[in-house]
């Protein structure tokens, strides 16, 4: 596996495990329709957009003090591209009015390929959006049909083209793999085609069956069978090798960047315990060891804010050992790994560590423990084993 070019400092710009600047996330919980695999919170009720926006603006006011400056803003969802330019303008204006952003802030918007007309893209650029994450999912018609996507292969290709033509040079494509409707050969072709657009970033997600989704129910009733672990393993390895051959850095389980400094700055904060503020229903926030999350309902969210209450559904204050466990777990999902001193000094922990390095799951480099490609494959197992 490709070593990281110049060490860890490049990725965060801050070095080590020192937290980078804060990130801001806005969850826009609306979709035209629910995708059968998606476990993120969204509702197919465009009529709620206007009243919801009013309450979002109220929520912004609640956090006006005490946060920022931000160097990343992520408009996710849901389908943020469903919102019109005037609507997005209102949100952006409010955010800018009440929060501080660094001049080089990375502003990402998640977009559905159907929503990115040249006009809209120009509008987004005007608003300061400088990174588009495009939900392509696949360049294979059968796979798109299986995934219940409303866009076609042609829509996807056009979308990428339009985004590039509009002058966005920081593009991320979301792709999904690991299901029987998409044979390995077709997945490889999707990857080749994705690379042909030379995006700076690729998110390749293995299809995860989540209980609360339609696919989850299908699996329970026997209407859908997931890949075997061995098949999934093959897909994962092929994806990693192929994209690295194209010069992408496999810097997180599902994330690839080329060049490597085009890593997703906002997502990176999640994996580094950096402070982030999440606005909108179901959004999570984290700062100083405290994590809280908003309610997972648009109506409750609105009702609470209309009563001038925080729309918070839960809070937890992490203990030192919980923080450490999370840091290791999150760190080992990234190629940067964790500082070696985060692994306990006990004999047992050290012997387990050396066992994992001997077996090629981890490597120690510049004072950091990093997962190898083989280590990525068992990243859920490693932290409990090590800590």
């Amino acid at each position: 596996m490709k070593p990281l070019g110049t060490g860890s400092d490049d990725l965060t710009g801050h070095g080590g495990d020192r937290p980078p600047s804060a990130g801001l996330y806005v969850h826009i919980p609306f979709c035209r329709q629910k995708c059968p695999y998606c476990g993120f919170f969204s509702v197919p009720s465009p009529a709620l957009i206007r009243p919801w926006m009013k309450t979002l603006l109220k929520e912004i006011l609640l956090y006006e003090e005490g946060f920022g400056p931000f160097d990343s803003l992520y408009l996710g969802g849901g389908t943020p591209s469903l919102l019109s330019i005037p609507e997005l303008t209102r949100i952006m204006t409010h955010l800018r009015a009440h929060f501080q952003f660094r001049p080089d802030t990375e502003i990402t918007l998640e977009a559905n390929p159907c929503d990115v007309s040249p006009e809209k893209l120009w509008g987004l650029r005007e608003l300061g959006v400088n990174r588009i994450s495009l939900g392509v999912q696949s360049f294979d018609a059968r796979a798109l049909a299986f995934l219940g996507r409303r866009h076609t292969v042609r829509d996807a290709e056009n979308a990428v083209r339009h985004v590039k033509e509009a002058g966005f040079d920081n593009i991320s494509l979301d792709l999904i793999y690991g299901f029987h409707a998409q044979p390995l050969q077709s997945w490889k072709e999707t990857l080749h085609q994705a690379v042909s657009f030379a995006p700076a970033h690729l998110s390749c997600y293995e299809l995860t069956i989540e209980n609360r989704t339609y696919f989850g129910k299908l699996v329970q009733t026997g209407g859908l069978s997931p890949l075997s672990p061995d098949e999934a393993r093959t897909c994962f390895l092929i994806t990693s090798r192929l994209l690295e051959a194209y010069g992408y850095t496999h810097y997180e389980i599902s994330s690839f960047a080329r060049p490597e400094n085009r890593y997703a700055r906002h997502n990176w904060k999640y994996w580094r315990h950096a402070p982030y503020l999440g606005l909108g229903p179901s959004a999570h926030s984290f700062v100083n060891g405290r994590r809280w999350w908003n309610v997972r309902s648009v109506r409750t969210y609105m009702a609470l804010l209309n009563r001038d209450e925080r729309p918070v559904g839960g809070v937890e204050d992490l203990t030192e050992s919980q923080l450490r466990l999370e840091a290791v777990a999150l760190g080992l999902r990234t190629r940067e790994g964790v500082a070696t001193d985060r692994i306990g000094p006990s004999m047992e922990a050290q012997s387990r560590l050396s066992h994992l390095t001997d077996a090629g799951f981890l490597e120690i480099c510049n004072g950091r423990v990093r997962p190898t490609r083989k280590g990525f494959l068992v990243a859920d197992y490693l932290p409990a084993y090590l800590c």
Binding site: Y270, E316, A329, L356, L377, V378
Partner: protein
């Protein structure tokens, strides 16, 4: 002593012994209904859950008969398992009579018969009681016939009752009062009291339960235990009501307790005789036997730093269980621990469970073993009750293993399967007797080592619960003994080593390898599980590695969920023992002991 009656209830399992005891206590007016706990005599959780009585206890019930005479009825509860047969015999020795309880639907069972013999051995008055007459399947006439034919008792004397519904209880009381003889009046003789139970009270020290046969004992007396001549000053004597009730004295015929500054239960012995120090009885009561552990196993803390805590727990535990013996032990795989001696396998399981439950200890227990003897070329004969100390095979001339005389009572129809089971377990020298029509008693000479694994469970399975089992130790006999080692990726797990007969080594090894394959979770690497004698591999299984364990997404909302999963995983890991790089769950150590048919 005309107004005292001392009795026990004996019964086949599930024939309603505890329910009847509860009902007698309740109807005696000793306790208000609303305070009544089910099965009051079984006061430990494990007993409650398993439905067996481990420790005997006594209670004194007040009773007024139809003519207005008042009585003190001492109900002495007995444990119900072969491991505790000695405790049972001491409880029975403290009585003048028993209620022999028979289920009206099930009829006479093997244990009913065994219990009857035990009672007859102590020359006790036996009152047959047919219980559960309220059941739709109750067949009182058939049961009466069985009482006549199988038990040889007069069925007209049987009392009908339903302990559950409370019918017939009055008749039970009357029978206790009028048919069980009163204890002999021996107040003038020198003190002899039989200890049949002892338990530890954190405030009072050891509380000894005893039956006074002769003489009297009072606070201020100095008593002497006749088995070890230890002397104690009596602080308090009394009887058991629902709580202890202090009395001025305990005299011949009475059942009660003595508190006398005995610190730990292990300073006393069930079966020992108490006498007065300045006026000792000329001889103790008959039947004393010292504790003889027959099964040995080591206990280790799952986390090595918990050794101190385990030591404390064992010390506290033995305050209340005189039968457990232990000493320090260590293992390459498991670190520091304790070598323990048990009365039998059930005793072992109870100790393990109570240490985990009451003392919150996560422990690993090694394979239980018996005490072997080896004649060495040097001329020495060594005792080995721990596979770790199996001698260098080149120095062994002969091995010897302990044999028991197994006595199994069962309905004739199960004879074939039981014979098969016993010969499979190297039983020899079978003898048969037919105590009653349709029932057979089989006696076998068998290696104790074959019995301690799962023999009793298997016997119950093949006889559908009808077989009862008891044993006496015989002697040590020559045997071709080898040490079976279990290796994980080439590393010996000394805690799984066993001394076995050569003929059974391969199948035992294979079984363990397969068991471990099921119990040890997949690791990141392949694990070879091997059974070996010396350098020779005789069995093998392989645990394939898992090759993928990762979820694709981990963003804001996933992190808490993921951490909770990890915390759960970590908790599970704490209960694992590391051997080399392999983590072995505690359940794996237990699983290798279990029957293959479970």
């Amino acid at each position: 002593m005309p107004n005292i009656r001392n009795f026990s209830i004996i019964a086949h399992i599930d024939h309603g012994k505890s329910t009847l005891a509860d009902r007698l206590i309740q109807m005696s007016g000793l306790v208000e209904d609303r305070k009544f706990r089910d099965q009051i005599l079984d006061n430990m959780d494990i007993e409650r859950e398993r439905g067996i009585t481990i420790k005997s206890q006594a209670i004194t019930l007040p009773y007024e008969d139809k003519t207005g005479r008042t009585f003190a009825l001492n109900l002495i509860d007995t444990p119900g398992h072969v491991d505790f047969s000695y405790e049972v015999s001491r409880a029975l020795a403290s009585c003048e009579g028993v209620l022999l309880l028979i289920d009206a639907a099930q009829g006479v069972e093997a244990q009913t018969l065994a219990n009857l013999y035990a009672a007859m051995e102590h020359d006790l008055e036996v009152i047959p009681v047919i219980n559960k007459i309220d059941l739709p399947a109750a067949d009182v006439d058939r049961v009466r016939e069985e009482i006549e034919i199988d038990l040889g008792l007069d069925s007209d004397t049987a009392i009908l009752c339903s302990a559950k519904q409370g019918t017939g209880i009055e008749a039970v009381f009357e029978a206790i009062v009028h048919r069980i003889p009163p204890p002999a009046d021996n107040n003038k003789a020198r003190l002899r009291a039989l200890i049949f139970d002892a338990h530890y009270d954190p405030f009072r020290g050891t509380i000894v339960s005893c039956r006074v046969f002769e003489g009297c004992v009072r606070p201020g007396d100095t008593i002497r235990l006749m088995n070890n001549n230890a002397r104690y000053k009596v602080e308090e004597v009394g009887i058991f009501r629902l709580a202890k009730e202090a009395r001025k004295e305990l005299c011949a015929g009475e059942v009660g307790y003595i508190i006398s500054g005995i610190k730990r239960v292990s300073d006393t012995r069930v079966g020992a005789t108490i006498t007065l120090d300045h006026e000792p009885a000329p001889a103790p009561l008959p039947g004393f036997r010292d504790i003889r552990p027959v099964v040995f196993a080591s206990l280790y803390p799952v986390a090595s730093d918990d050794y101190r805590a385990l030591a404390d727990a064992l010390e506290k535990y033995t305050l209340n269980d005189a039968a457990l013996t232990y000493q320090k032990d260590s293992s390459a795989a498991l670190g520091l621990g304790f070598r323990c001696g048990f009365l039998g396998l059930l005793h072992l399981e109870i100790v393990q469970e109570r240490l985990e439950r009451e003392f919150d200890q996560a422990i690993v227990m090694t394979s239980p073993t018996v005490q072997y003897q080896f004649q060495l070329t040097s001329g020495d004969r060594v005792l080995v009750d721990n596979p770790l100390y199996y001698p260098d095979p080149t120095t062994i001339l002969q091995g010897f293993e302990p044999y028991i005389r197994a006595s199994i009572l069962l309905p004739e129809r199960y004879m074939g399967v039981v014979m098969e089971l016993c010969t499979e377990r190297r039983g020899v020298n079978a003898r048969f007797s037919y105590p009653t029509v349709g029932r057979v008693e089989i006696r076998f000479d068998m290696p104790l080592g074959e019995v301690i694994y799962d023999f009793y469970d298997r016997l119950k399975t093949v006889t559908q619960g009808y077989g009862s089992f008891d044993y006496d130790l015989l002697d040590h006999r020559e045997s071709d003994l080898v040490k079976l080692d279990i290796l994980l990726n080439g590393e010996r797990v000394d805690a799984l080593s066993q001394i076995v007969h050569r003929d059974g080594a391969r199948s035992r090894a294979l079984r363990i390898c397969n068991r471990l394959k099921e119990e040890i979770p997949r690791h990141l690497f392949k694990i070879a599980v091997q059974g070996a004698i010396g350098g020779t591999i005789i069995a093998r299984s392989t645990i394939a590695p898992f090759r993928k364990d990762v979820t694709a997404k981990c963003y804001g909302g996933d992190i808490t969920r993921k951490r909770k999963l990890l915390e759960k995983q970590k908790k599970g890991k704490k209960r694992m023992k590391m051997v080399g790089a392999v983590s072995i769950p505690q359940s794996a150590f237990v699983a290798v002991l279990k029957s293959e048919n479970e």
